[in-house]
Subunit: 301 residues, 2 copies
DNA sequence: GATTTATCATAACAATATTTTATCAAATTA
DNA sequence: TAATTTGATAAAATATTGTTATGATAAATC
């Protein structure tokens, strides 16, 4: 392995072309300089300087090494600059959450990034279990999940909720017989969402997700409502997702006797303090959630 | 400065997640590993691993350092690979010569490069004095010049010659009165070339370059013959340059009573052995010069 | 939940490596 | 050619590094 002190000596030597002056430059004695260069050359098994008496100049290998030495020094300097510093306005922010939450969150995050150009937003849409795993493995720093978990490695806090919404083709009312005849458009969280909403609002009629007639399945969040808008079935989704569907005329939300909301949890890795830049992210999420649930339409004027 | 041994220990530690096993891995004792990490963390003033009891995992700074460490190791490996090796078929070949020689030489060198794709040809057209300077400063390795110089830092050998050629507009003969009425098209080597040729072939008439009527000046080698082809003047150039002019019908070479040739010298830096790859270059130049002067037209069939 | 085992941290010591002082040899300069 | 500058070498001093012995703490086992 190359001794970095040797590199420094080499660079000074190249600058001064002088052993004695290099010694002064680096606060050492002249024999020390000689030894440094000797060891470096022996370590690499090449000669770096062609020394003819008093004059010295780089050999081709010396030129190669010079490029290497400069690169190394630059790299180390950059490392030291980047380590330890914890700017609240720059660096990578790695966030994972559900697809529906991602759709809602991403525009706000990008807006944030526009104000702080040195921020880098990485958003990974993933099911809750995967999200937890990503946090555990330090592949992501912040997670938003909808199920409460207890894990010794995870910090979890309630930060808001998402209203669940029974989405129907336009002009449908949401009576049970209607739902049955329409059938369910399933998606990755479909069973969980449907069970929650239907159990509470149709306690006598709903006998389990398995008994619900299925009309299709799609795992592309932005496309789940397409079959609904075509009158091919109904589904259950977070309200924010339904609100984002472009063709609002062709769908409608059933009014639920018992509203259902999913609690949103923010998770982080325990004993891994979040870098300062995540404060921006936190407040971004917070304001999104409060405005989003209290007055979902306000943002559209 | 970062101790490279510490980097190695860090990397093994990241791989094994185990101090004892790292010690075995690197043939050292466990306390040694502990010290390495401690020193590294103190040197950088950050903690690289979050250690909670038995488990350890990288901190964000640790991840940054990991990227750095891998980069460093790769860089050092590449350095060691590239040092010392002296393949006859790859690497940069830095050659400097006159513009006319460059025009002649470059196609041949490119052909060479096509056969040896790992060769890199750098050709710098420069006047003799500059060429010598480039060689002295190790900015170029091989030079072709037309004037003999004596310099304690320079090796110089005769390797061939270039025929000088009096270039006229088509249908001119080259009698002295004709030359006078045409006038001279000057270029960077114009004075030197003209003096040589005219002195020997018009010893009585020619009284010095200053007395020759000037009709223009251009330092773009490929364009010097343009005014000649338009009938605007005559000039003196190496024969190879004249032969490369595309519009041969509109120019002609005067037949000289006393042929003039410029000796070509190859120069290198003294005490700086040429890398093996220059053998290819040498033979390329040699064959070009022999075919070029012995039978200049042969290459065109 | 106590005991055992495994693992990392610490301290004193030993080994190693580095740097310096003193000196010499060679090359440049006067 | 002598004087001076400059780099190389050898021995000694110093600093650094790594090791052995041991202790503390966390995980594993009974």
């Amino acid at each position: 392995m190359i001794n970095p002190l040797h590199i420094a000596t080499f660079l000074s030597l190249h600058k001064t072309r002088h052993f004695t002056r290099t010694a002064e430059d680096l606060n050492m004695t002249q024999p020390g300089v000689t030894l440094h260069l000797q060891r470096l050359e022996r370590e690499l098994d090449v000669s770096l300087f062609a020394r003819r008496g008093k004059t010295m100049e780089l050999t081709p290998d010396g030129e190669t090494f010079l490029r290497f030495a400069r690169k190394q020094q630059k790299a180390e300097k950059e490392l030291r600059d980047s380590l330890g510093e914890d700017s609240p306005f720059c660096g990578e922010c790695r966030i994972t959450c559900s697809g529906s939450m991602a759709t809602r969150l991403y525009p706000a995050l990008l807006q944030l990034q526009e104000h702080h150009r040195e921020l880098r937003i990485s958003l990974e849409a993933a099911p809750d279990a995967t999200a937890v795993d990503l946090i555990k493995k330090n592949l992501m720093d912040l997670g938003l999940i909808t199920s409460f978990i207890e894990d010794p490695q995870i910090n979890i806090t309630r930060i808001g909720h998402e209203e669940l919404c029974l989405a129907l083709p336009a002009h449908h009312t949401g009576v049970w017989a209607d739902l049955l005849s329409l059938g369910y458009i399933d998606h990755p969280n479909g069973a969980h969402y449907a069970s929650q909403v239907l159990e509470k609002n149709y306690p006598r009629e709903f006998s389990g997700f398995a008994d619900l007639p299925q009309k299709g399945y799609i795992n592309q969040l932005s496309q789940i409502l397409l079959p609904v808008s075509e009158g091919l079935g109904f589904t259950v989704l977070p309200e924010s997702t339904v609100d984002l569907f472009p063709d609002q005329k062709r769908i409608c939300k059933a009014s639920l006797a018992v509203p259902c909301r999913e609690t949103l949890y923010l998770i982080t890795k325990k004993h891994r303090p979040l870098p300062n830049r995540y404060q921006l992210i936190r407040s971004c999420i917070d304001s999104l959630l409060s405005s989003g649930t209290a007055a979902p339409r306000e943002t559209n004027r």
